[in-house]
């Protein structure tokens, strides 16, 4: 990966305006800003959005935070809605109803609720049909907008409001769904998993590739939620770093079927380092729960090995 200079990239005009109502320290808008910075200057964009924190906070009438055209329709249909927008672009271009030099890109954002769960069918359909668009899941691992309920993106043993830790419960019983692999199995041209890293190079290059690869692309973007994960807002970059260094959240891409690992930690950190920072895993550190952490570690290891195998082919 080359051709990235943070200081140049930061000169680009901001495409997400301030004044939105996301919580202080929200990871989602950091991610959205990074994705939008990958748009080339002069290109127009239509932004889609599934119902969720990002939507209710960035377009609360009459205040839109978006510099580009924006459409929110409902919770479960961001994929289908943007399919319609992208197809309209094709139709209007074909019929000469848009200026020939007006170049539009289509990016939709959905949380893990709107993407992994309720909007999964709509996403799958849009990907399979191959619309020229990017679907970005800002994955914060639970339904944060409604108050931290578990989703299929929630990691095992997380304490959420529908998998509360109690005398009979250690939190969520199931492992998280590997959505990036599932979308890669749709055989779309480009799928990548990324998060917020120090210089934002990984997310920038992947966003640029996703936006400028013809056809359907998918980005799975981990954006921590300080409320749901229970950490100090200032610590977000450290949390993301630990997710990568423990291989909980590996950075990889699948470009036209070719799997590539974009970062391999020199020394894979134990999963405790990631879990310890977050209140939602506090119970795992009580005496007697060592086996739960061991199980968590085993699952991380298994997935990491599987990913390495895919990337070695």
């Amino acid at each position: 990966m080359a051709g990235y200079n943070l200081k140049e990239v930061m000169n680009k005009p901001e495409r997400l305006a301030p004044g939105h109502r996301m919580c202080a320290g929200c990871g989602a808008t950091i991610g959205v800003r990074a994705v939008l910075r990958a748009l080339h200057e002069g290109d127009y964009a239509v932004i889609g959005n599934a119902t969720g924190c990002l939507e209710v906070s960035t377009y609360m009438y009459p205040y839109t935070a978006w510099e580009d055209s924006y459409i929110h329709n409902a919770f479960e249909n961001a994929g289908a809605t943007l399919s319609g927008v992208e197809t309209a672009y094709k139709a209007l271009k074909k019929r000469g109803k848009l200026p020939a030099d007006a170049n539009f890109k289509f990016i939709t954002f959905g949380g893990d609720g709107g993407t992994y769960d309720i909007g999964f069918q709509s996403l799958s359909g849009a990907m399979e049909r191959g619309h020229d668009m990017v679907y970005v899941c800002y994955d914060n691992g639970a339904y944060m907008n409604t108050g931290i309920q578990r989703s299929s993106a929630t990691p095992m043993y997380a304490d959420t409001t529908t998998t509360p830790v109690g005398s009979q419960s250690n939190g969520k019983m199931q492992n998280r769904k590997d959505l990036a692999s599932i979308i890669a199995d749709h055989d779309v041209p480009y799928v990548a998993q990324t998060t917020l890293t120090k210089d934002f190079k990984d997310i920038h290059l992947k966003s640029e590739k996703a936006i400028y690869t013809e056809g359907a692309s998918f980005l799975n973007l981990m954006t921590p939620c300080p409320r749901g994960w229970r950490y100090e807002t200032a610590d977000i970059m450290r949390i993301c770093q630990l997710a990568v260094e423990t291989c909980y959240w590996p950075l990889f891409e699948v470009d036209h079927g070719k799997w590539t690992l974009n970062y391999e930690p020199k020394k894979k950190l134990p999963i405790e380092d990631f879990l310890r920072e977050q209140g939602r895993f506090k119970h795992l550190f009580k005496p007697g729960n060592e086996d739960l952490i061991a199980q968590f570690q085993a699952e991380v290891d298994r997935r990491w090995e599987d990913l390495q195998y895919k990337c070695a082919r």
């Binding site: 943070l6 200081k7 140049e8 930061m10 000169n11 901001e14 997400l16 305006a17 301030p18 004044g19 939105h20 109502r21 996301m22 919580c23 202080a24 320290g25 929200c26 990871g27 989602a28 808008t29 950091i30 800003r33 990074a34 910075r37 960035t58 377009y59 009438y61 009459p62 205040y63 839109t64 935070a65 978006w66 510099e67 580009d68 917020l196 120090k198 210089d199 934002f200 300080p226 100090e232 807002t233 200032a234 610590d235 977000i236 970059m237 450290r238």
Partner: protein, 100 residues
């Protein structure tokens, strides 16, 4: 017809609201002051800043303006005081102070 956000508020009669509550405008949220939410405030120390810009992309509120590869002071109308930038700065050029 383009929408002037200043003509819409909670007293606006129904006739003057936009059709379908669409906004024929962009980035009107700039008019909404989220700086009021702040309980702690980051303070920029220009003399310590090396202009590495690692603070600029981590802001969830686009409140660190960058021009010609240089950051300037915070947009306090919108900074919510989360403190992410303080930890992102390798040079101690941002300090967190209590209060607004």
């Amino acid at each position: 017809m383009r929408t002037d956000v200043n003509t819409i508020n909670e007293k606006t009669p129904h006739e003057d609201l936009t059709e379908g509550l669409m906004m024929f405008a962009q980035a009107t949220s700039k008019n909404f002051n989220t700086g009021e939410w702040r309980t702690n405030t980051p303070v920029f120390c220009a003399e310590k800043c090396k202009q590495c810009l690692l603070c600029a992309p981590v802001c969830p509120d686009s409140a660190i303006p960058v021009k010609d590869s240089k950051r300037s002071d915070f947009d306090y109308d919108h900074c919510k005081g989360c403190g992410i930038c303080v930890k992102a700065c390798p040079f101690g050029a941002i300090e967190m102070r209590e209060g607004q």
